[in-house]
Structures are given as C-alpha cells and as structure tokens.
C-alpha cells in the first residue's frame, strides 16, 4: 500500500509540474480570464440624462448596446481579423456561454428617426434608414 501511495504522489507532482511549464492553449481558455471576458450590455440612453432635451424634440432616448471587458482574442499586431474570426469561432464552439461569436460581417441597423432644433431654431427631421455597422472583435 505504501508503494502505491508514494507512486501516486509522484505522479501528481510530475503532472502539476508538467502543467505549469506548458504554454496556455486554446483549451485552457476558461482558466483565469473568465471574469474579464467581453460581454455585450444593453443600455437605455436618455437625452434628458445627457442634458440635451432642450434641442432634441423626439425621441426621448434610444436603446444602445455596448461592450465591456476584454476580448478573448483581441485584434492587435499579432491577430488580424481573419485569424481572430477563426480562433474566436473555434473557442465559441467550445465555450458558447463564455466566448461570444466573432462579429465581422456588416450589420444593418433598424431605421431610426431623430427630430431636433438647429442653432437657428429650424426643426430638422432626419431619418437613418440604411445605417451599417462594420466591426470586428467580440461583438
């Protein structure tokens, strides 16, 4: 029994030793970065909150999305959009709840209209029908 016990201890020691020396790989993603992962948040922006209700007549506000946190594989000097899309897709398949899909395709937004005063008190009604957001990164 003593031998078995010593053998087990050796094996544990060697594996943990082994682990700390390996480079972090795609599979280890969910280790330390989970709480910093980029998340998409929804926020209602009120023009009154911005102090702009004296010149924006309508609407009273709008629904906005914004991201907070670090991308899993951010675009930078080492990661171009194509590699990012490939890696992000792979990791998303493995951890769909923690890693969002890559979002590089142009996204057409809903039509929006804004009614506001200009400096001369003329009233302008602007309609944005074909606004397109092109982004690359987590969302």
């Amino acid at each position: 029994a003593a031998n078995n016990k010593r053998k087990n201890q050796n094996r544990n020691k060697s594996s943990s030793h082994q682990e700390s020396s390996r480079m972090p790989s795609v599979g280890d993603y969910n280790a330390s970065e989970q709480k910093q992962a980029c998340k998409k948040h929804e926020l209602y922006v009120s023009f009154r909150d911005l102090g702009w209700q004296d010149w924006i007549i309508a609407p009273e506000g709008y629904a906005a999305f914004y991201c907070d946190g670090e991308c899993s594989f951010p675009l930078n000097a080492h990661m171009n959009a194509t590699n990012h899309a490939i890696v992000q897709t792979l990791v998303h398949l493995m951890f769909p709840d923690h890693v969002p899909k890559p979002c590089c395709a142009p996204t057409k937004l809903n039509a929006i209209s804004v009614l506001y005063f200009d400096d001369s008190s003329n009233v302008i009604l602007k309609k944005y029908r074909n606004m397109v957001v092109r982004s690359c990164g987590c969302h």
Partner: protein
C-alpha cells in the same frame, strides 16, 4: 442593435445614470452620427415664432409608425416563420397603419383646432425623404403696404444651412387662415404667393407668381403653397433668395389686407404661425466607423 427610438426599447434595457466619461463619449458619438460639430443652442422655446415644431412632430410620429410598420411587417412574417419578436403592443395591427392614420386625418373637417397634420401630398414625399427641415421666418418687421398701395406680407427663410449633398424633393409654404373679416361676407378671396426677383428701395419689387389659392371668406384651416422650384433655385443661388410675398385680393382684383383676409402672421398663436417646410433626399449610404 443601437436603435434611436424609444419604441425600439425592450424591457431588458437597463435604465441607469451614465457615468461622466460615458456621457461625453455617447454625446460625441451622437453628434458624429447627426453630422453636427457641436450641440445646437436654439432660441428660447417662447421665441420659436412658428408652428413648425408641432407640424414636424406630427411628421416624426408618422415616420416612426412607418418604420415600425416595416418592422411589423418583418415581425409578422418573422412571427409566422417562428421568429420570437412577435407583434408590438399598441400599434395599428395592419402593416399600412400609417396610411390608415392619415386617412383618418383626412376625414377631420377643415375647421379643426388640431395642430397642422401631414397631408397625403406630404406622405409621398415623407416616405421618400431622408430629411425634412422646417425653416423659421426671418422677417422681423412686417411691411404691410407697398409703394403702389398694394397689401402684402413678406417672408424670408435661410436655406444656406442645408447639409451638403441633400437635394430638395419638395418644399411648401404653409399659412393658417381664420375666418375673414365680416365685411367680406362669403366673398371669394384669392391668396397668391410670389417669389421676390428684385427689390427696390423706392418702388414695388419685381415679383414672380409661384402659386395661388381661392378661398371663401368663411374657410378656416391650413393653406399649402408649392415652392419647390424656388427652393431649389435658392439652394443653388443663395444670393437670389430675397424671400416671398403673400397677397390677398377680392374676386374683382381689389388688394385687401392680409390680416383682414384672416391669414395668421407671426403675431398669431404659436400653433398657427406660418412656416416653410422642405423635404430632402440624400444619396450616400452612411457607414459608421468602428470605435
């Protein structure tokens, strides 16, 4: 999806006060989308001198309904195909609720105390327009009487602030008529609008007739004059923009005071003051750069 319209807001959106840096960043982003260098500082609300904001708010509501009915169409199709978005509460069920609402407004009698409503004529231009702009009348002092003893009212609008690349697809001058002075009984009155071609210090201006309307003395409501061609001309040649002149005559061609004809000028109630509105179409697609 970042919609600008409170009717796109789902209950899941967080309502919270913005932090200072968020507020600055969002303000910067909105100004960039609107193409404005800084936030405008309009006159004090009391000085609006026109009923345009009420009219424009009406157009905005019509436009928002149109957007929603497009979305509605989508969601109807979507919901049939099993999309979870479903039908929005409180909106006309029929996808063309927009025209339905306008039909309703057409039925309102001319003697209405409501704010000015978009006419069917506006509807077509509205659905095509990317931008609608109403202009404040710049004439401060009313000159009611010409050298040749003709009654008139002058109006001037500054069209130089139109964003580059926007073309005028339609422009109207709107003025409200109340019941005429009782001494006109139920006589027919002709209301004409002229473009001022050349102005002279000591004689009548050179005028070009743009449009005219016949009305009974007892008629009450908005009169709309088409000034599209003139507006386009002013946009291309701002120095030729000398304004408009409005005149009223009896059936036998006698010039009468515009006020006694019942036409409301700058001193009437705000909901009935005259204004100009123009519909624009732009061509380029707006790309938002990635922040």
């Amino acid at each position: 999806q970042g919609g600008l319209g409170d009717n796109h807001v789902h209950s899941s959106f967080i309502y919270r006060r913005l932090r200072n840096h968020e507020r600055r960043e969002i303000q910067r982003e909105i100004l960039s989308i609107l193409g404005l260098p800084h936030r405008p500082r309009p006159f004090a609300p009391g000085k609006q001198a026109s009923s345009a904001p009420l009219f424009m708010l009406d157009l905005y509501n019509a436009m928002t309904n149109e957007e929603d009915s497009e979305e509605l169409e989508y969601s109807l199709k979507g919901s049939i195909a099993g999309d979870s978005r479903g039908i929005r509460k409180g909106y006309p069920a029929s996808p063309n609720g927009y025209s339905q609402r306008i039909q309703l407004s057409r039925m309102t009698p001319l003697t209405t105390q409501n704010p000015p409503l978009a006419s069917l004529h506006d509807t077509n231009f509205l659905s095509d327009a990317d931008m609608v702009m109403s202009f404040v009348n710049l004439v401060e002092r009313d000159k009611d009487f010409s050298h040749q003893r003709r009654h008139y009212k002058e109006f001037r609008f500054d069209l130089t602030q139109i964003p580059r690349g926007e073309a005028v697809t339609a422009a109207e001058f709107r003025i409200y008529k109340d019941r005429s002075n009782s001494r006109f009984g139920n006589e027919t009155i002709q209301i004409s609008i002229y473009q001022i071609i050349k102005d002279y210090p000591n004689r009548d201006a050179d005028l070009f007739l743009l449009d005219s309307r016949k009305a009974q003395a007892s008629d009450v409501g908005w009169f709309v004059f088409d000034i599209t061609a003139t507006s386009n001309h002013w946009v291309i040649n701002p120095h030729n923009n000398l304004g408009l002149q409005l005149c009223a005559e009896t059936g036998d061609g006698r010039s009468i005071n515009v006020k006694s004809a019942g036409l409301i000028g700058r001193h009437g109630p705000q909901s009935k003051q005259p204004f100009m509105v123009a519909f624009f179409k732009a061509s380029e697609v707006l790309f938002r750069s990635v922040r």
